[in-house]
Structures are given as structure tokens and as C-alpha cells.
């Protein structure tokens, strides 16, 4: 088992969450969330990866060719769609909150507090 992808995933998650905690601008914060999400892509892909295998497309190959696990790839695709949705929603919310409050600093956006 190769530990490099797991170390990479943990590192991306850690720097992402540090960025989320210390961010002073919501667009930057959303970028940090995307970095955190990249950690999940890498973790999922590394679980399904097989050395010396091909992509799970059998159009021009025999069915017995060793291929990487297609289930994980489908999961990553779903994950990317979900990530895009959440990012779009967050950016829309940020835009709206800027119109109302004139700031996008997370420290100054506190619900129910003037």
C-alpha cells in the first residue's frame, strides 16, 4: 500500500481547514473549502487505484484487462458535482450578503448580532 495519496489528502484537508478558520474574506474561505474537498477526491481515487491497470473503459479491450475500480471513479464524479453545487450556492450567498452588509469578512458577519 502506498501512503503518499493519504498523506497528500491529510495535508490538503489540514491546510484547507486552517484557511477556513483564519480567513478574512468569504471568497477566500470558499477557495479553502474547495481545497478541503480536493482531499476527498484524492482519498477516493487512491482507494480505487490499481498499479499497472487501465481506465475502466473496455471499448477496444478485452473484458478481462485489469482496470482501476470504476465505482470509486463514479463516486468522485458525484462528489465533484456536489462540490460545484455547494460552491455556487456559497458564492451566491456571499454576493447577496455583500449587498446587504457591505462586507464579506466572516468575523463581521454574525447572525442576529448588530
Amino acid at each position: 500500500m502506498n501512503y503518499l495519496p493519504w498523506v497528500t489528502a491529510a495535508w490538503l484537508f489540514a491546510v484547507g481547514i486552517y484557511g477556513v478558520m483564519t480567513s478574512r474574506h468569504y471568497v477566500h474561505l470558499i477557495g479553502c473549502l474547495t481545497v478541503m474537498q480536493s482531499a476527498t477526491y484524492i482519498a477516493l481515487l487512491s482507494v480505487g487505484y490499481r498499479f499497472g491497470s487501465v481506465a475502466p473503459i473496455f471499448y477496444a479491450r478485452s473484458d478481462s484487462t485489469p482496470a482501476v475500480d470504476p465505482v470509486l471513479q463514479a463516486m468522485v464524479l458525484t462528489d465533484i458535482v456536489v462540490g460545484a453545487t455547494v460552491t455556487a450556492l456559497l458564492l451566491a450567498l456571499t454576493l447577496q450578503v455583500h449587498k446587504k452588509r457591505g462586507t464579506v469578512n466572516p468575523e463581521r458577519l454574525r447572525p442576529l448580532r448588530p
Binding site: 478541503m36 450567498l93 468575523e107
Partner: protein, 603 residues
């Protein structure tokens, strides 16, 4: 066993709301008058009927439905199954009822903005049903995510500053939760090479029993669900989001979404990770301790609020803690209690958020101190609020009480006696806070405010010119159901469903099901426990409302305790800054890591 006609109903609880949502999105622009309201309400009612029929059919065995007929072949499980047992179908029916009531309550609320509200709500209903019925780990994540996105958008629906800020906190914290779930799924798949609960559970029981990776996978999924389920220290987003969401939406958030995330945690535990000894140990210690802390801190924070919806949000935190206690106690009696408490609490809390909505629409505010005496014109709402407050505060009748008796009975078998004490305290604080609100708003009592005056608040109102009876009707219906009218054997029913869930749900998708567990009649924890809770509830409300009449020395003594730095620290941690909430999530994760290491070492 199962009527073949019922088998074709299996995917419909998910499909009906989603299709109705898609239809409304398509034609919402052209629909005249209140047709969108009617269509959404009927879709929710249809889902309710389907779920009720499925619950009636699955008494003798769960219904397994493979999406697109992708059944397991030669030991390989690629397809996604819905496994519908009586427990899930009952919860599904309850959630559909809550949605129907909420749609009626919101009749005419959102007329200016096409039918987007209904579309989002129907997607949320479909996602909740899918989350409840699915038997596949990744599918569970997908429904979790669909429900989250719909919920984020619904929170910010009014597009004003406070709702937007609440929605941002909600989105950021819950997205981190979903990343953790996904990481946990990756780890679980790396152990078992399957996603179906039944197929994965087999390998986890074999190979994962002593593997730290199995414990890590469970912890990551559990933290994600606990963020959504608002357990300490992951609960911070909830008070912000539930306080600012439109009241018909808060009904669903508090009544269905948050408790369902906790039920999801139970499902992951019972279906997948129960054979792992270290996870069992974590459940008995860490999760129980978190449940107890959540119950007490949620209750105390609830007492210190003046914004009615925020007060109710903290009460949801506290009662979620009781559900977590029930899940951590495990076993059929505790699970039966969890099912009943889930439904009973959802009905009561839904009704309470509707009362808050009635006040927002007719009195034009939601601040308890400002509302003092202004609720008199809508006095019937006061009766409903008092009834709901009494049930929330542990009165010895209704579904919530039966549920907490069952959880208490499961807890009584344990050496930790403070489980019951925490339940009494949390329940009494939340019930006391609601009764205090009812007394102040509808009777004009409590001119002198206590600690709650320092709570955060806001001026808001909701669309005024809606007929009062149309808002009162669903509130009353929910409360009548919560009292348990027409459900004399609710206890026996949930115990039956819980025993079957525990015996059958895990392996239902991979093989024939064995005989169900038999459950004896549970012994009651303490016959006077509900009375004690209710007495404490009334005492707390009376103390807060009668401040001007109590002796000065008594008030000074209680205030010295309640204003102490320990109690004000609770307020200060709920500061509304998302970075701090994420730090708390990180600290919670660290707590889980240390506990897992200890559990692995001990096991």
C-alpha cells in the same frame, strides 16, 4: 409475506416528492393562485399514504428494492438497495406528515416568488425519505448532500442579512461534515470493497474487527452526521440557522432533519460497525457522554435566549442530545424509545415553531421581551404553546413522554445514574423556557427580565395577511397527534419495529432474514420521573416569570449562579463567527481521535 403491489410502492416515497418538485419547477411560473400550495401539500400527503401503507406491509419482514434491478450477482453487490422496514417507513410517514402540515401552515406565505419555496421543500422531503430508506453508504451520502443543499437555500430564502449570515455558517460547517463523511466512506470501502450495508458489514465483521481503519472510518462518518445532528461540540451552526430560517422551514429542520441525522448515525452503527469492539466501546462511553453533555448544555443555553426561534433551536439541541443518549444505549428498548421520541419531539417542536410563525405574522416580532402581552389578540395560539411547552417539559402524557420513558428504561439498566438526571434537567430547562415564553407573551407576566435579556435578538416579521385559522389548524393537528390521540399502542408498535430493525436491517439486502429479537415489556425507570421533570419545568418558568415577587436574597443567590463566568461562557462560545465554529469541529475531531486511540488500546 409482502404483497407484490406493495413492492412496487418501494421507490415512491423518494420519487413522488422529487417528481412533484420537478413538475412545480417546470410549471410554477404559470400556475394560478394557490395551486402550487395545493400541489405541494398533496404530494406530501401522497408520500404519507405510501409510507403508511409500506409500514403496514413490512411488519413481517423488510421490503428490499434494488434500483433498476441491479441485484447482487455471484457475491458481487454493485446495485443500490432501498431496505424498508417498519421503523424507517414509520419515520418516513411522520416526516411526510410534518411537511404536509408545514405546507398548509405556509399557505400564501411565499406568493411573491413563484414556487421555488415548494420546489426546495419537496426536494428536501425526497432527500429525507431517501436518507431514511437507503441501504447503501454512498447513496446515504448523496441524500445527505441533497438534503443539505436544499436546506442551505431554504435558510437564506428571505435574502436578508441575518438569514444570509446564518445560511453561510450552516453551509460552511455542514460542508466540512460532508467531506468527513466522504473520507470515512473511502476508508470503509478500502476495507470492504462494497457500499451496500449488508455486503460491507460482512467484511467489517471479519477483517475490520481489530483494524484501526474501521474505527477511523466510523468516527469520520459519525462526526459528519453529528455536525448535522447538532451534538456538542458540533452544534453551533444550528442556533444561527434555525433562528433565521422562515418558520415553516424551521419546523422541518428541527422536527425532521436534525433528528434524522442522528437516526442515520444509529443506522450506520447498527448496520455496519457494531461488530467492531472498539466502536462498541466508543458508543458506550464517548457518544453517551456527548449525548449527556448536549442535553444539559442545550437546555441551559435555551433558558438564556429571548429570540423565540433561537430558544426553540437550543431546545432542539437539548432533545437531540436525548436522542443521542438513546442511540448510544443501543438495544431494542432504547431504539424503540428513539423512534417514539423522534416522532413525539418532531410533532411538538413543529407546533412550537408554528406558534413562533403565528406571532411573527400577527404580532410582528419574535423577541420574547418585546412581545410581552402582545400575544393576547391571538390567545388560542397561547393555549397551543402552553400545551406544547408542557409536553416538551416532560408531562406524563403523549408520544414524547412514552419515548423518554423507553429511553429511561434502557438507561435504568446502566450503572450511570446521571443519564436520567441529565434527561430530567435538559427537559425541564427547555420546557421551562417555553412556558416562560408563553406566560410572558400571552399573559403579560414577567415584566422583570432575567439573564435572557442579554441574548441575541433581531427585529423581523413574516408576511402578515394570512388567515389565522389556516396557521392554527396544522399547529393543532400536530399537537393532537403528539398527545397520541388514536395511538394507544404506540409503545408496543415501536418496540415491535425496533426489534425487527435490529434483527433484520443489516443483512436484509444479502440474504434471508432470521427470526426477530423478542423484547419483553421494559421496566419503567422511575414511575415519578415525569412528574419530577414537570415540577421542575413549572418551577423554572415560575422563577423566571415572577422575578418581581420573589425575595431579593433568593434572586441574588440564583443570579450569582446563573451569571457566573461558567454560564456566561456558554453564551460567549456561540459568537456567530464561522471560523470559531470550525475550530470547535476540529477540537471535537481531536477528542474523537484520542478516544478512538484509547478504545483501540483498551479493546
Amino acid at each position: 409475506m409482502i404483497d407484490p403491489a406493495a413492492a412496487t410502492l418501494a421507490p415512491l416515497p423518494v420519487a413522488v416528492p422529487l417528481l412533484a418538485g420537478a413538475l412545480l419547477l417546470l410549471v410554477g411560473k404559470f400556475l394560478p393562485g394557490r395551486l402550487a400550495d395545493a400541489l405541494a401539500t398533496s404530494a406530501a400527503l401522497l408520500t404519507l399514504v405510501i409510507d403508511a401503507r409500506l409500514a403496514a406491509q413490512t411488519g413481517q419482514g423488510p421490503l428490499v428494492y434494488w434500483m433498476g434491478h441491479w441485484q447482487p450477482q455471484g457475491g458481487l453487490t454493485l446495485g443500490i438497495a432501498l431496505v424498508i422496514g417498519q421503523a424507517q417507513a414509520m419515520l418516513g410517514a411522520f416526516m411526510a406528515l410534518l411537511f404536509a402540515a408545514s405546507f398548509v401552515f405556509a399557505w400564501g406565505y411565499f406568493e411573491d416568488i413563484r414556487a421555488f419555496f415548494h420546489v426546495l421543500m419537496l426536494i428536501l422531503l425526497g432527500a429525507l425519505q431517501g436518507f431514511c430508506l437507503t441501504h447503501d453508504l454512498f447513496n446515504l451520502f448523496v441524500w445527505f448532500e441533497v438534503m443539505s443543499v436544499a436546506a442551505f437555500a431554504l435558510t437564506a430564502y428571505r435574502l436578508e442579512a441575518d438569514p444570509l449570515e446564518g445560511a453561510l455558517n450552516f453551509t460552511v460547517t455542514n460542508s466540512i461534515g460532508s467531506f468527513l463523511i466522504l473520507g470515512g466512506i473511502a476508508l470503509a470501502y478500502s476495507l470492504g470493497n462494497a457500499l451496500d450495508f449488508g455486503a460491507l458489514a460482512g467484511t467489517l465483521a471479519h477483517r475490520g474487527a481489530t483494524d484501526p481503519v474501521a474505527v477511523a472510518a466510523f468516527c469520520m462518518i459519525a462526526i459528519g452526521l453529528l455536525i448535522k445532528g447538532a451534538a456538542l461540540p458540533f452544534h453551533f451552526w444550528l442556533a444561527d440557522a434555525h433562528a433565521v430560517a422562515p418558520s415553516p422551514v424551521s419546523v422541518i429542520f428541527s422536527g425532521a432533519m436534525v433528528p434524522l441525522a442522528l437516526f442515520g448515525l444509529g443506522k450506520i452503527y447498527w448496520d455496519l460497525f457494531e461488530p467492531v469492539p472498539a466502536v462498541q466501546l466508543l458508543m458506550r462511553t464517548l457518544f453517551l457522554a456527548l449525548g449527556i453533555t448536549t442535553t444539559v448544555i442545550g437546555g441551559l443555553a435555551c433558558l438564556r435566549q429571548r429570540h423565540l426561534k433561537r430558544l426553540l433551536a437550543f431546545s432542539t439541541v437539548s432533545h437531540g442530545g436525548i436522542l443521542l443518549i438513546g442511540i448510544a444505549l443501543s438495544g431494542p428498548v432504547a431504539l424503540g424509545g428513539v423512534l417514539l421520541y423522534f416522532i413525539g419531539h418532531g410533532l411538538v417542536k413543529g407546533a412550537l415553531f408554528m406558534v413562533a410563525g403565528i406571532l411573527l405574522a400577527s404580532a410582528g416580532g419574535v423577541d420574547e421581551l418585546w412581545l410581552r402581552g402582545r400575544g393576547r389578540p391571538v390567545w388560542p395560539a397561547g393555549i397551543l404553546m402552553t400545551l406544547a411547552g408542557v409536553m416538551l417539559g416532560g408531562a406524563p402524557f403523549g408520544l414524547m413522554d412514552s419515548g423518554s420513558r423507553l429511553i429511561g428504561a434502557a438507561a435504568a439498566g446502566r450503572p450511570e445514574k446521571w443519564i436520567l438526571m441529565a434527561m430530567v434537567l435538559g427537559t425541564a430547562c427547555t420546557g421551562g423556557a417555553v412556558l416562560r415564553g408563553a406566560g410572558r407573551i400571552f399573559l403579560g407576566l414577567g415584566a422583570m427580565a432575567g439573564e435572557e435579556a442579554r441574548g441575541p435578538t433581531d427585529e423581523e416579521s413574516e408576511k402578515p395577511d394570512r388567515p389565522l385559522w389556516l396557521m392554527m389548524l396544522p399547529t393543532a393537528v400536530l399537537l393532537v397527534a403528539a398527545v397520541g390521540v388514536g395511538m394507544p399502542h404506540a409503545d408496543a408498535m415501536v418496540l415491535h419495529a425496533a426489534a425487527r430493525f435490529l434483527a433484520w436491517d443489516r443483512s436484509a439486502s444479502v440474504g434471508p432474514v432470521g427470526p426477530p429479537l423478542t423484547v419483553g415489556a421494559p421496566q419503567s425507570a422511575h414511575p415519578f420521573m415525569p412528574w419530577l421533570t414537570l415540577a421542575l419545568t413549572v418551577l423554572i418558568a415560575a422563577h423566571d416569570l415572577g422575578r418581581s415577587r420573589w425575595p431579593k436574597t433568593w434572586l441574588r443567590a440564583t443570579d450569582r449562579v446563573l451569571c457566573s463566568s461558567w454560564f456566561t461562557a456558554i453564551d460567549r462560545t456561540h459568537d456567530g463567527v464561522v471560523g470559531d465554529y470550525v475550530l470547535w469541529i476540529l477540537l471535537g475531531t481531536a477528542l474523537f481521535s484520542v478516544s478512538s486511540a484509547v478504545a483501540l488500546y483498551a479493546g
